[in-house]
Symmetry: C2
Subunit: 106 residues, 2 copies
DNA sequence: TATATTTGCAACCAATCAGTTTCATATAGA
DNA sequence: TCTATATGAAACTGATTGGTTGCAAATATA
């Protein structure tokens, strides 16, 4: 059951949960109302997000408020970093290809 | 078999394939040499990446060179965009929380 | 105290996944 | 032409996934 962040965000329901609690902390019950599935199913998704440390919890009596840990989200951003350089330079490469085509047409 | 980019990058082998072909286009055989699994297994991963349009192919005789489609990678970046604002403002919130704690201690 | 609410956990199940082996096809080279 | 090489596709398999129902524990409220 050791899952990483990439597996965590692979599921559309979990991405939706992330988006919801990014705006404000929510209880499992409140979250479950937003989806067409049982509270327990949503709770299992929350558990996975918690195991990946994408989500923090805060107890308030018998209610538990879950909120997003944005620091963990940055790890996805960090992984993308290596490609960001490429797609920026790829732009330049495309420019040179296009200008070559233009020259050939002339 | 309709998978999205988030499911595509969930698998560690597929992320490794993406990293490898980001640097240079590679054939399935060359790619398979980098992993401890059969060529067919690697080919199945390539197929999934192709279906998600994360990967392009270029035929060269009987060889096929696969290369990364960086435009599709940007979609992940776009999804992260909504959280980037939050983790930047969260920084500020943390600052105010810390200063509040400091004041209380005094 | 008795009851209702909020939550997590365990057991179960059908569907999907990631790998395998086997086979067919197309191209390169002797 | 014959043989070796490069590739994809199909069938199969065990493990994992995402959902369900049922139950137990803790807290709030009458």
């Amino acid at each position: 059951m050791r899952r990483d962040i990439f597996q965590a965000i692979a599921d559309p329901t979990r991405r939706a949960i992330i988006t919801l609690i990014a705006l404000q902390a929510m209880t499992p019950n409140a979250l479950a109302e937003q989806f067409d599935m049982t509270r327990q199913a949503v709770s299992k998704h929350i558990k996975i997000l918690t195991e990946c440390q994408l989500v923090n919890q805060e107890q308030a009596g018998r209610e538990i408020y879950y909120k997003l840990d944005t620091n963990k989200m940055k790890e996805i951003d960090n992984w993308l970093e290596q490609f960001r350089k490429i797609w920026e330079s790829r732009f330049n490469q495309l420019d040179t290809v296009l200008s070559t085509i233009k020259k050939q047409k002339k």
